[in-house]
């Protein structure tokens, strides 16, 4: 009765501290099967894979509950090397290739075939001679088996991106005992035709009896190649189905779901439409690695809270970064009618835009500085406030700074020992409040908050969201909120734009049905097929 599975994961649970990221997840993959794993960012996919590969993060944070069973034998991997030895391979989204090496060398890296020599007999195995003939033959075989007719002696350096992916695959299937291959969003960086080629290669690999786990956001690809799929949401399995029993809209709905967390109580009805345009974006492009914005037109009205959502890597974070001048941007942006000059560093700040960065520790804060210095820094440099002129120099006016910092600490409820505490020693939520305080110190006309609630506790989350709503409704501040958490966007925003593939796939009302959000998020290509 018992079917043989290449991989079974049973009742896997994992907590990071108090935060449960996986709750009783089970899945099983048969040899020769393509199994799709679907979910939003933060749904638990990567944690599940980290467990499968025995990554040290898992062990360092207290291990996990449940079982990983490979070929019917329970496995406990202490390192990725163990997992590799057990026949599990991964095709990375970021290539693990050495550009200066030939394709053969890359395929065989760390597993070179060797011939013993006189020296190796005396001084040990590491002086064995490389068996270039065999390695080239093996590489050729692996390349042939995935239909790549490129010469194995070529260096990887100049290859097109699509080819690199295939070299990665060739490396994995060259491993003798490979049983299970994980493809982590393999098509994210490929063109459409390259992606098609990849899918057919996946099929042919599966035919050889190798099990495949396919992680992707592109639902049409799931429909194309997968045999079965599991949807994860908030660390739980929401559904496991055969592909023939389902369709794209259903998966999209399962993926998004309706979160019934009312983060902010709003008594007032939604905003009254103002005709004044706060931010006008035309043909906007941002060259931000990993978050490229390709072409965007947007009008954001004065006094609204405008949400920007979408999956990671689709370009939503690129929008604030482009406006703030962190990455090269092109196109037209007008702030209250004033044209933004990308070439001028800090121009957006001077035109009254403040931004809370998604990278709190990397961009948002000076971790070694005090709370007060962080709060007033932008106001001091941009607006030259909190300074005392000394004729030849402008010194920071410690008294004014202290007073303002204390005020912000009170209004935003920053939990600290005092305005002089080092920001690096604060908790994530309090750091975020400092970021917000620093943006508010600029007294902006337009506030952009990017991922304001990432990695902070529920209390701080609520306070920050409530404060944002208050700023908008009672002080008339225009707010753009960029977030991966659809739930929080829907709870406070007036309109929500979903970004996919670097473009706006649709602008929705917060109470639009789940299906629409789900479809919008999984790329424009899908929605065309549906309509």
């Amino acid at each position: 009765m018992e079917e043989t599975y290449a991989l079974r994961m049973e009742h896997v649970s994992k907590n990071y501290g108090d935060n449960a990221v996986l709750k009783d997840v089970s899945l099983s993959v048969k040899p020769g099967e393509i199994y799709a794993l679907i979910g939003e960012n933060g749904a638990g996919k990567s944690t599940l894979m980290n467990i499968l590969f025995g990554m040290s993060v898992i062990r360092d944070t207290g291990g996990f509950d449940g079982k990983v069973i490979i070929d019917g034998v329970e496995a406990r991997f202490n390192s990725p090397n163990d997992a590799m030895a057990a026949g599990i391979g991964m095709v990375h989204q970021e290539f693990m290739l050495i550009p200066g090496f030939t394709i053969t060398e890359n395929i065989k890296v760390g597993r070179e075939d060797t011939i013993p020599t006189l020296a190796s007999r005396i001084f040990g195995k590491s002086l064995e001679k490389l068996d270039n003939k065999k390695m080239n033959a093996d590489a050729r075989k692996a390349l042939d088996s995935i239909g790549m007719d490129i010469d194995q002696h070529v260096r990887v350096a100049g290859l097109p991106v699509g080819y690199m992916q295939f070299v990665e695959i060739a490396r994995e299937i060259d491993k003798e005992n490979i049983k299970l291959l994980v493809f982590d969003e393999p098509t994210a960086v490929l063109t459409e035709s390259e992606a098609k080629g990849l899918l057919s290669v996946m099929r042919s690999i599966a035919k050889r009896g190798i099990a495949i786990i396919f992680i992707t956001h592109r639902l049409s690809e799931v429909m194309d190649v997968a045999d079965r799929m599991t949807v994860l949401r908030d660390g739980e399995v929401v559904a496991s189905k055969n592909i023939i029993d389902t369709d794209i809209p259903e998966i999209a709905e399962l993926m998004v779901g309706r979160r019934i967390e009312k983060l902010v109580d709003e008594n007032e009805t939604h905003y009254t439409h103002s005709d004044e345009i706060a931010l006008k974006i035309r043909d906007f492009q941002v060259d931000m690695p990993g978050e490229t914005v390709n072409h965007i037109d947007l009008d954001i009205h004065k006094g609204e809270i405008f949400g920007i959502g979408g999956l990671a890597g689709q370009g939503k974070v690129g929008i604030p970064n482009g406006i703030m001048g962190m990455f090269p941007a092109y196109g037209e942006v007008e702030i209250f009618g004033e044209k933004l000059q990308f070439s001028k560093l800090g121009d957006a700040l001077h035109k009254g835009v403040a931004c809370v960065s998604e990278d709190r520790r990397g961009v948002g804060l000076l971790l070694d500085e005090s709370i007060e210095n962080n709060i007033i820094f932008n106001a001091m440099t941009i607006k030259r406030e909190y300074l005392t002129g000394l004729g030849f120099a402008h010194l920071v006016n410690a008294k004014k700074v202290r007073a303002f910092a204390k005020e912000m600490i009170k209004t935003l409820d920053i939990r600290c020992t005092g305005p002089q505490q080092r920001v690096g020693s604060l908790s994530g939520g309090n750091q975020q409040k400092v970021c917000l305080a620093s943006a508010l110190a600029l007294n902006p006309r337009l506030l952009i908050v990017s991922e304001p609630t990432r990695g902070i506790d529920i209390g701080a989350k609520k306070l920050i969201l409530e404060h944002l709503v208050d700023l908008c409704r009672n002080h008339g501040l225009t707010i753009i909120m960029v977030s991966s958490e659809l739930g929080e966007l829907r709870s406070i925003c007036d309109r929500i734009a979903i970004v996919a593939g670097g473009e706006i796939s649709s602008i929705l009302a917060p109470d639009a049905p789940d299906v629409e959000f789900g479809l919008a998020m999984s790329a424009a290509r899908v929605s065309q097929e549906v309509s």
């Binding site: 961009v363 402008h394 010194l395």
Partner: protein, 357 residues
């Protein structure tokens, strides 16, 4: 106990060893019956003498280029400035001033040093902006090359005064130039007083403190804060609309200019101007001093300068006579200097990476 070990870790084991060593040297000096007052006077003199050179490390570390091994560039600028004033004196430029014009001469020298070193510093800063991430290695070798280049310059300078040039050849600068007739000890002797054998180089010390105060003031100013933000977190600075490269050039320039001023203060106290290869390793001594004071590759404050210079150069000032007392031969204190200065740099380098993880 755990708290103790943590405190030790924070303070740094090498620092504790060096302080303990310094203290034990002092005890040894006292026990062997040395003239403690004179010795302490020497400690203070050397503290003030090296102080400004070490201070040059602060703006460079704060602006993000790390400890400035290439401070030698500022030093050669300062040396050139001093040589120019000697030539000026030769033509009677300072004759009309009081006391032979030594004070005037040294002030002109400092002013010239500021100008020359700043020009060199701007160029140097522009170079360092192109080599982000390997500033330390590049600056070390750029410093070495500049010293070698200036060696050629010293040989070819068209100066005529007998103080500077070789008497026989009639051209080319001497390796060491006696400043007796110029500005030797003018700052040291300014407001100087004596308690027993303890000599207080008041003027020099005040100048050192004044320089520290100005640098401190700068770090509290708008520009200073923008500069240290650019050094601490370039992405943050960029998001705040700060031109990171400009700030780095600013920091490098200030550092180099301080190097130029520093060498003049050093030379007037020492009494000699040392040309040719003498400045080559000075950058290392400065870096070591500020590191001993508690700075790291990426963080430095004025306190580190004050403490580090006192510890490192004070220790050497004491070690020299003590070592000579214990072991008359063998250049023990010189060996000590090499081991300690390079040891502390190695320690800081290995710590820097650990923190980076």
């Amino acid at each position: 106990m755990e708290r103790m070990t943590k405190a030790v870790k924070n303070f740094g084991l090498p620092r504790i060893i060096i302080i303990a060593f310094f203290l034990s040297l002092l005890v040894a000096a006292a026990v062997t019956g040395m003239d403690m007052a004179a010795l302490l006077g020497d400690v203070v003199r050397r503290w003030a003498m090296y102080g400004i050179l070490v201070l040059a490390m602060v703006p460079s570390i704060q602006c993000g280029i790390g400890p400035n091994f290439g401070v030698t560039i500022g030093i050669v600028g300062g040396l050139l400035a001093a040589l120019i004033t000697i030539e000026m004196r030769f033509y009677g430029f300072f004759d009309s001033f009081a006391n032979g014009g030594a004070m005037m001469q040294v002030c002109i020298a400092i002013l010239l040093a500021l100008i020359l070193s700043s020009i060199l510093g701007i160029l140097y800063g522009m170079l360092l902006n192109r080599v982000k991430g390997s500033e330390m290695t590049v600056s070390t070798y750029v410093g070495f090359s500049i010293v070698a280049l200036f060696n050629i310059l010293w040989l070819m300078l068209p100066f005529k005064n007998g103080t500077s040039i070789w008497p026989l050849a009639g051209e080319g600068m001497r390796t060491t130039i006696n400043l007796e007739a110029d500005f030797a000890s003018v700052f040291n002797n300014l407001l100087a007083f004596k308690i027993g054998n303890f000599e207080m180089p008041t003027g020099l010390l005040l100048l050192f403190f004044l320089a520290c105060f100005f640098v401190w003031l700068f770090t509290k100013s708008r520009t200073g804060m923008m500069m240290s933000a650019a050094g601490a977190n370039p992405n943050f600075a960029k998001a705040a609309g700060i031109n990171v490269n400009k700030m780095r050039i600013l920091g490098t320039t200030i550092s180099t200019a301080l190097g130029g001023v520093g060498i003049i203060c050093y030379a007037q106290s020492f009494g000699f101007l040392q040309l040719y290869n003498a400045p080559q390793m000075m950058g290392f001594a400065c870096v070591a001093s500020v590191l001993i004071g508690g700075a790291s590759i990426s963080k430095a404050r004025i306190v580190h300068v004050l403490l580090g210079t006192l510890l490192f150069h004070g220790m050497l000032a004491v070690a020299l006579p003590v070592a000579n007392n214990i072991l008359p031969e063998g250049n023990l204190s010189e060996i000590l200097r090499i081991i300690i200065s390079n040891g502390i740099i190695l320690y800081a380098l290995s710590k820097a990476k650990e923190a980076g993880k």
